[in-house]
């Protein structure tokens, strides 16, 4: 695609097309190029590399990566631990989406009118959000401690000794115990987003509904919620995607145990990749996570476009 004889007469200056192209777009290229190079090297290239790994049974050590076609993908179907993990993710997504939204909405509405102490409440509710998950995890590990944890101490104090136990050691309870810690840390985020969303809810409509005799619940459900639909959509999407990808809090609190009772797909992928060195299969698991995330994102964008139209 070099300049041909036909082009030549059209060019008034002596510069070649490549040169003109460079002069015209030089600024744009220079602005974008540094970010693009880093992004290509450490995001795009690794992504395609993951796809390649997923077709091999590489163990991270050998020089040769043996191509096994769809072998890893066939293994997914019969992998009980994967399905168990996905079930835990599903539980996580359902409870971990509904609970923060319900509580966050409740708090946002209670503070909507900015009563006395508004800033104090907002500051404290939001605080877990600025902390590392490691800190959240350790604090809740302590709360659940069977010997000195405040949960058991509190239950003993009110005469409910029968309920107290080692919360994270009980396979039937552990997943929900970790989930409660995660919900506790997420409420502040949802609350703050809803508080911002409520600023756009028409107060005139609410007044009108009050005059028409609507009670508090009716006003909430029929007037406030429809006007908040977009904001609720955003929060649902973020919590859904976050729930399928959850890693930190589970890893810090239980590392997937006891006996895989809190294994989720991200902790399972991590173990396959970095403790079992099943690099090929772990890459396949990572792509399953990617597919779920992308499907959720695209579904969400579609839903939003329909809502805006």
């Amino acid at each position: 695609m070099t300049g041909t004889a036909l082009d030549a007469p059209l060019v008034v200056t002596s510069s070649s097309p490549a040169h003109r192209y460079w002069r015209r777009y030089r600024a744009g290229i220079v602005f974008v190029l540094p970010a693009l190079i880093l992004y290509l090297a450490f995001m795009v290239y690794p992504f395609f590399r993951s796809i390649y790994f997923s077709f091999t049974n590489w163990n991270g050590v050998t020089a040769v990566k043996e191509w096994i076609g769809f072998g890893n993908y066939r293994e997914l179907l019969g992998d009980d631990l994967l399905w168990l993990s996905l079930r835990h993710n599903l539980i996580w997504v359902i409870i971990g989406t509904i609970a923060p939204i319900a509580i966050g909405m409740w708090l946002a509405i209670l503070l909507w009118r900015r009563p006395k102490g508004f800033t104090l409440f907002r500051t404290i509710f939001f605080m877990p959000q600025v902390l590392s998950t490691v800190i959240i995890g350790i604090i809740w590990n302590w709360i659940y401690n069977p010997v000195f944890g405040i949960l058991n101490k509190a239950l003993d104090a009110v005469g409910l000794e029968d309920i107290s136990r080692g919360w994270l050691g009980d396979p039937d309870i552990a997943l929900y115990a970790v989930l409660v810690a995660a919900i506790w840390a997420t409420i502040g985020f949802v609350f703050v987003i809803f508080l911002a969303g409520l600023q756009n809810v028409s107060k005139d409509l609410l007044e009108a509904a009050t005059i028409d005799g609507a009670n508090a619940w009716q006003r909430f459900w029929n007037v406030t919620v429809p006007q908040m639909a977009n904001v609720i959509n955003v929060v649902v999407a973020l919590l859904l995607i976050g729930g399928f990808n959850v890693f930190d809090v589970v890893f810090v609190m239980t590392q997937g145990g006891p006996a895989n009772a809190t294994e989720v797909i991200a902790t399972y992928t991590y173990k396959e990749a970095f403790t079992q060195n099943h690099v090929g299969y772990a890459s396949t698991l990572a792509l399953v996570m990617t597919a779920i995330s992308l499907i959720a994102s695209v579904a969400f964008i579609r839903l939003r476009e329909r809502g805006d139209a």
Partner: protein
């Protein structure tokens, strides 16, 4: 829920009150009391765990197990000193400062340039590039973590600070570019024309006209990237192998595993690692909250 627990919105109370006389005055007062009881209940739910940990930092292990709710009998600073020295929090903190400075500076600078380029400078395939960057927001870290690990291993970066810095900048670029491009698109592009007529080149237009205007956007982005870099756990867990190079989030976890039985020391370590972010949050809490809200609602 009682009627008063769901308050009517609106700062203009005089206007609302005559229209919405919900029951007698006593009823509304009771509603307010109920509201505050609920709010204070939640406040305690969020506050007690923190107060417990902070006060435990001044206690011995025995005091912690005997009565968790009691305040410390005397202020023992030994735990905090021990965590700082023996627990190596001094090193972890310094490492986190290094990581944060490098990742925030790198990702903000590159995202600012690229965001400007993609918003206001002519470039073929601009929209395609933007889609490529936005895809980075949709894929989970797991989709790139394994090859990045081997890439770092083969380039011998695994044993250095770069192991977290370089991929950290890369993975934060999509978000940064998204925010900065959105910000620059909100500015009128004609602002640059006058300078161009005066003979400024594209870099001059950016440097003298648009960069100063982008300070609010940059400030929001810096807060975000700082919080991410300070708190990030998975990436250093996988890429940072040597204890001397661990940032404070990861260091705290290994510290927790190492000293499990010394509860006062654990509490001191957790308290230490919270101090910088909590202070920053209390100072800049409006910026934090507005940034989070804007980030979530725009994306």
């Amino acid at each position: 829920m009682s009627a008063g627990a769901y308050p009517m919105p609106g700062e203009s109370l005089d206007r609302v009150t005559p229209v919405a006389p919900k029951g007698p005055y006593v009823g509304r007062l009771a509603g307010n009391v109920v509201t505050y009881i609920i709010l204070i209940g939640f406040l305690l739910m969020f506050l007690i765990p923190f107060i417990w940990i902070w006060s435990s930092a001044f206690k011995t292990s025995r005091e912690i197990s005997q009565n968790p709710f009691a305040l410390p009998t005397e202020l023992r600073w030994e735990n905090l000193v021990q965590a700082w020295t023996v627990g190596r929090f001094s090193e972890y903190m310094l490492n986190s400062v290094i990581y944060c400075a490098a990742i925030v500076a790198g990702s903000v600078a590159l995202a600012c340039l690229a965001g400007y380029g993609l918003a206001l400078v002519p470039l073929p395939g601009r929209d395609g590039l933007m889609v490529l960057f936005l895809l980075g927001l949709m894929v989970p870290f797991q989709s790139v973590m394994i090859p990045i690990y081997y890439l770092l291993r083969d380039t011998h970066l695994l044993e250095s600070y770069w192991a977290f810095i370089v991929p950290g900048i890369a993975i934060r670029l999509p978000f940064g570019i998204f925010i900065m491009r959105g910000f620059f698109r909100g500015l009128p592009p004609e602002l640059g024309d006058a300078a161009r007529v005066d003979g400024a080149n594209e870099w001059g237009v950016f440097r003298n006209i648009f960069l100063p205007l982008s300070v609010p956007g940059l400030a929001t982005l810096i807060v975000f990237q700082f919080m991410w870099a300070w708190n990030e756990f998975a990436m250093p867990l996988i890429f940072v192998q040597r204890d001397q190079l661990r940032p404070v989030s990861l260091g705290t976890m290994f510290f927790f595993g190492r000293f499990t039985s010394d509860r006062g020391l654990i509490a001191a370590g957790v308290t230490l690692s919270m101090i910088p972010v909590v202070l920053l949050y209390l100072l800049l809490q409006r910026r934090f909250i507005e940034g989070i809200t804007a980030g979530a609602l725009k994306s």
